[in-house]
Amino acid sequence: MALQRIYSLPSCTLVVEGIGSEQILSILTNFECRFLDAQESISGGRNLLLAMSEAVNSYVQNLKLDSINQNGVSQPEGNLQNQSSSQTKTTQTQSIQSKAYLESVTPFEHLLHVQAIAEDSDRTDLISVRLSMVQLFDLIESFDQLSLDSQTLPDLSLELKPGQFKPQKAAPFQSAPILVGAASLAIAVGAAFVFVPPLMKQSEPLPNPDQPPNSRTFLQTKPKPPSLSSEPNKPESEANIGSQITDPELLIEIEEKLRKNIDKAWRNKISFKQDLTYIVEVDKEGEILGFIPTAATRAILQPNADQKLEKLEEELPLKQLQQSKPVQLSSTKPSSDLLPNQTDSQTSSKLPSQPSELSNSRTSSRANNKANIETDPGRNTEGSTEGSLGVNQASPKIETTKFTATFSPRGGGKLIVKPFIKTVDP
C-alpha cells in the first residue's frame, strides 16, 4: 500500500512517500523537501534522507553562536574570520550514493549543499539551498518529527551523538591538550578495567557523561571493593548477568522507577536509628535483582550485624520488591520451591551462608528465566541447574545497573536513591 506522510512546518515541508502495511510506512520510495521561498526542492531516496538528516544534526550540534553580536549594521557581511571558521564547521556526510553538507555563510545564513546521484544513471544533481536560521530550525524539526514518528520508517530513530567538547572561551588553544589528556585517561580507565575480575567490571557503573572524569576514583585498581569482598559468597557467574546499562536517559528512568517502587513499599515502622545504605542491582525494567548492605552499613550494625540485617530485611521493602516479580516465575518452576529462601539471591548474594553453587545456578537460571519460559516451559521442570546452564550460553545477557538506596530514619523516614559509584570505603 502506498503511503504518504507530510511534515509541514512554517518554512519547510517534508513529504515522505513509501510503501507499507497497516498504516506503517516502512519502505521509503521517495522524499521531497520544500522550502518556503526557495526555488529548488530537494528530493531523493533513503540514502539522501539519511545523509541530510545526519549532516543537519551534526551541523546544528556544532553551530557556533559566538559570532552573533550587535545588530549587523556594523558587521561586514561574511567577514574573513567568519569565512574561515565556517570551513571548519562544514560537515560532510558521504554515503555511496548521496552527499549532503552544510556551511555557514553568515551567522544567520546557512548553505545546504546536496548532491544526489540518480540511481539509474550517472547524472548528478547538485543543489544548494540558502537557509535562514528559522528555516534551518524547521528543517531539523521536520527530520525530528519524522524520526519520532513511530508510524513512518520505524527503523529511523533520533540519534544525537554528544558533540565535541567545545573549546573553552578563555583558552581556545588549550583545549586540544585537555582533550588528549581526557582521551588518554579514558584509555587508562579502559585498560584498568581489562585486568580486574568481572565482578569489578560489574560493579563499576559507567559514570554519566556529565560526571567529570575523576582519576582518583576511576583509576582505582583495587581488584575487589571492600564492600563486596566482605561477602564470603561472591557469585562467580556474574559475567552471565550481562552488561551495564549505559544509556543515561534509561538510567534516569530506572532510577525514578526504583525510587517510586521502594517509596511505595516502605510503609513499616522504622526501628533503626542510623542511615542504612544498600547497593541495589536492578534490570532494565527497574526490577530489583539483588541487594547488599554496604560495608559502612554493616559496620554501623556491629555487633551481630548478620542478625540485625536479617531483621531489617523484613522491615525494609527491598526483599519484598525483589520477590514480587519472580513469584509467578517460580510457580512454573518446582525446583525453586525447594529453596524458598534463595529464590532471588543472585548477583549480590545477600545471604552469606548459602552455598555458592546454588547461588550460581540460581543466578544463571534467573538470567534466563524469561527465555526459558518463552522457549520451552516444560524444560524447567527437569531441574533448574541443568536447564538453565544449557540455555545459558546462547541466551542474551541481561543488562543491569546499580543504585544505592539510603534509608534514613530522619523526618519520619527518608529515601535517597542514587546511582552507585564506587569509592574507597573509609
Binding site: 546544528v60 552573533i68 553580536n69 550587535q70 545588530n71 525530528d144
Partner: protein, 189 residues
C-alpha cells in the same frame, strides 16, 4: 517518605552525583532569557512542574530558585551543586517553556536576522525590532540584578549573550527539544 532531597547531603559512600558547573550556568542563563521574553514565566514554569511530573525535583518555588542558584555567578549563590535529577528537571522545563513561546521566539530570531541583513528599514519592520530590543534590555537588566558584581561580562557581551540564547531557545523548542538541549549541555561542559 519522599525524597525531598535533591540537594541532600551525600553519604560518605558516594561521590555526589552532580553535573558540571557550566551546565548550571547555561541552564540558568536560558531560564533568565525565558523570563525576559515572558514576564510571568516563573508562574508558568511552576505550573508546568506538575505536567512534566517533576514534583519530586521541584516541589515548590523555593526548590526551583535553589536549583537555579546553583549557578556560581549568582548573587545568592547557594553552595550546592546541581545534581543530575535537578539538571534534567531544569532542562525539561526550559524545553517546555521554549515550546510554548516558540512563535514569539521565531519572530525574534527572524527579526534579528533581518536586522543583521539590514532589511528592517526596507521591510518596515521597526516594530519587530523594538521587540528584540526590549527583550535584550530586559535580559540585560535581569542579568545585572541577579548576578554577582563584578560581572564577568561587559554590557555588550551580556547583550550578545541574550541574542545567542534566543537561538539556543529556538533549537530547543522543537519536538525533540529536550533531547537536543540535554545533548548540547553535555557537549558544552
Amino acid at each position: 517518605m519522599t525524597e525531598s532531597a535533591v540537594l541532600s547531603k551525600e553519604s560518605s559512600e558516594e561521590i555526589p552525583h552532580h553535573v558540571a558547573v557550566s551546565m548550571s550556568i547555561d541552564l540558568d542563563n536560558l531560564l533568565l532569557a525565558i523570563e525576559s521574553i515572558d514576564l510571568s514565566a516563573v508562574e508558568v514554569m511552576l505550573s508546568l512542574v506538575e505536567q512534566l511530573d517533576l514534583e519530586k525535583v521541584i516541589p515548590n518555588r523555593v526548590a526551583l530558585w535553589r536549583l537555579r542558584s546553583s549557578n556560581p555567578l549568582r548573587k545568592q549563590f547557594q553552595k550546592l551543586v546541581l545534581d543530575f535529577q535537578g539538571a534534567k528537571g531544569l532542562t525539561a522545563i526550559t524545553a517546555a517553556m521554549a515550546k510554548m513561546l516558540s512563535t514569539y521566539i521565531r519572530l525574534l530570531v527572524n527579526t534579528q536576522q533581518q536586522s543583521y541583513e539590514n532589511k528592517i528599514e526596507a521591510f518596515g519592520l521597526q516594530q519587530n525590532l523594538a521587540l528584540v530590543d526590549d527583550y535584550v534590555e530586559r535580559f540585560y537588566n535581569n542579568y545585572r540584578s541577579r548576578m554577582k558584581a563584578p560581572l564577568i561580562l561587559n554590557p555588550s557581551e551580556i547583550r550578545d549573550l541574550a541574542r545567542k540564547l534566543l537561538i539556543q531557545l529556538l533549537f530547543c523548542s522543537g519536538s525533540a527539544g529536550e533531547e537536543r538541549l540535554w545533548n548540547y549541555l553535555l557537549s558544552s561542559g
